[in-house]
């Protein structure tokens, strides 16, 4: 098995032509078909970039998605979209609202997954937003409790995960960035993830970020996925100290560059970060990636950050290959 496989979390920056096209589509000045062709064009570029850089596990870049919850809300029965809600300062977004029983009408992510996978021999991850985050980032006007809402989302996300697996996805990532916001709800988030992942043959991954892991670790290790994709660079690898206190029992995709900083990390910085991680983790359990999706970076920044990741992982992998293997105990 290749050690320290490289990947990315999910989203890529949208090329300028696609940003313009999305604006025109929103004003009904562009058809859905025309927008769809440009989304495919951008997806080809995302796949080509990852192949050129030498990443191991690819993503489709989410060129057809705006917000990671609204994308699903727009396609699910029982959901609407609210008026504008402030995100920060003078920036606003339209927050999903649960207005009735949540039902999946058709596969939501499968067509783009299939298109992206058709462009490469390397595996492409199927990408979903988890039931806890869908609930936490939506208004709820229908279900009597948060638990009911979370479990309802879990059912439709399960259906989508099965369809992704049927379409050939070997890796299915279910993002839960909201998971650490209410530590007392971790048990219901775990219950919901069981609904999504139990019995799947694909490798399951969950990404989370910008949270207070201290409050949910090591309970987080009960989340029924095989790999957790966690940020480390953005908080100076504080995660490593947590793991030092309580061993990490799953695979980890370790965020080694800050996705929300324009500065490009040096190879030496990233190598040093990986070395720190390997003080408390076995190389066999570690993948290497950015802290979070790259959609807020420019295309050039995204490319350079991923290039540094690949170079750093290659260097550490080579170091590891030269290390004498410990003799087997008799």
């Amino acid at each position: 098995m290749k050690l320290l496989q490289t990947t990315s979390v999910g989203s890529f920056p949208k090329p300028d032509y696609l940003v313009s096209a999305r604006n025109l589509y929103a004003k009904s000045q562009l058809s859905r078909e025309e927008l769809g062709e440009l989304e495919k064009k951008a997806t080809r570029e995302v796949i080509a970039l990852q192949e050129r850089l030498g990443l191991d596990i690819l993503v489709d870049g989410e060129m057809e998605r705006g917000d990671m919850t609204a994308f699903f809300a727009e396609q699910l029965e029982g959901m609407g979209i609210s008026g504008l809600v402030r995100s920060y300062g003078n920036r606003y977004y339209r927050k999903p609202i649960v207005v009735g029983p949540i039902r999946r009408v058709k596969p939501m992510t499968v067509p783009m997954y299939q298109f992206a996978q058709s462009l490469t021999e390397k595996p492409v991850k199927g990408m979903l937003t988890g039931p806890y985050t869908m609930t936490d980032w939506s208004f709820n006007e229908h279900y009597p409790s948060r638990r009911d809402t979370i479990l309802a989302f879990a059912q439709v996300i399960r259906e989508e995960a099965e369809d992704l697996q049927r379409a050939g996805a070997r890796y299915i990532q279910i993002d839960e960035p909201a998971l650490s916001t209410r530590p007392d709800e971790l048990p219901v988030a775990i219950e919901a993830m069981h609904i999504v992942t139990d019995g799947l043959k694909a490798k399951t991954i969950s990404h989370m970020c910008y949270g207070d892991f201290d409050t949910i670790y090591p309970g987080l290790l009960e989340l029924p996925v095989q790999q957790l994709d966690l940020e480390a660079a953005n908080n100076d690898f504080a995660l490593i100290e947590l793991i030092r206190k309580h061993p990490f029992t799953k695979e980890i995709a370790l965020g080694v560059v800050d996705s929300h900083d324009h500065r490009i990390e040096t190879k030496d910085e990233v190598v040093a970060g990986i070395h720190r991680a390997l003080e408390v983790l076995r190389p066999e359990q570690v993948w290497i990636d950015p802290d979070c999706g790259l959609k807020t970076r420019s295309w050039q920044e995204a490319e350079r950050k991923l290039a540094v990741i690949v170079e750093a992982a290659n260097q550490v992998r080579e170091e590891l290959s030269k290390k004498p293997k410990p003799a087997k105990a008799r």
């Binding site: 919850t69 609210s82 809600v85 402030r86 003078n90 936490d136 909201a178 916001t181």
Partner: protein, 318 residues
Amino acid sequence: MSDAPLPVNLRQMLHKHDRREISDAELEHAYEATITRIVNEQESAGIDLLTDGQIRWDDLLTPITRQLDGAKPGGLLRYFDNNVYYRHPVIQGPIRWRGPATVDDYRTAAGATRRPVKAVLPGPITYAVLAEDRAYKNFEMLARAVSEALHQEALALQEAGAPLIQIDEPALGGQPARLALARACMETIARGLKTKVGIATYFKPVQEIWTGLRAFPVQVWQVDVADRPAQLDMVLNAPPDGEVVFGCMDARNTRLEERDTLARTLERATDRLGADRVWASPNAGLEFLPHATAQKKMARLAEAVGAVNGRTAGTAAR
């Protein structure tokens, strides 16, 4: 927080200002006009105790941070369990109050109505929890320094005529070990003030700290009973010696509460505490809702208070 969602025209003016299509003075005029509009909307909705809507506030902390020596607004972080962001204060040196941060907008709002307008400030515990402390490297020292600065701001608000200064402590429920410090900080802020001081808690549960919290040196307590209904019994079983603002309207969900459900909650409160000690309010700032939803919710709250036949002190904006 009492942030009201920004109306569309101010958002457009802000974009124009970013593109340098309007001057600073024109933007300032837009801010003042918006504060007046928000005050009028609260009056029309039947609200008794108003706010200036914190129209200029990007988040709870940044307006204060900008007026403190030793602190600067840092990067964006996710704000509690909300899918919104705040600029975390970066503490670089000793905290010193440079001058009023909130008084001008307070005066604008108070000048636009005959009804009382309350002032809102972030609490020192919440400020210290959300800050990145590169200077004191000591939570207590930072919280105490912030309290001294907030005391200066509170004096300036009292001078401007604020009848109530509300200290928002959303982080306090998650900090039971810091309750004694929070109390000491509140004593610092309220030192020598003649105007009323209140503490507002939300987002996190306060059951664990209620015994200590109800003995704080303030006159008004605000408690979330919408998202955390068990906290209604908590207050009614052991009320503080003062007025209570019952956060009975969920400011983080678009579902419109039934008038009668709200009225029943308020009836229980007035039966226990007496009408003059009970206020009805959203459980957090309205910034988490679309503007039109926030307006409907505030009108519904006023209806519920009406249904209790005026047997409360009134409705308070958050």
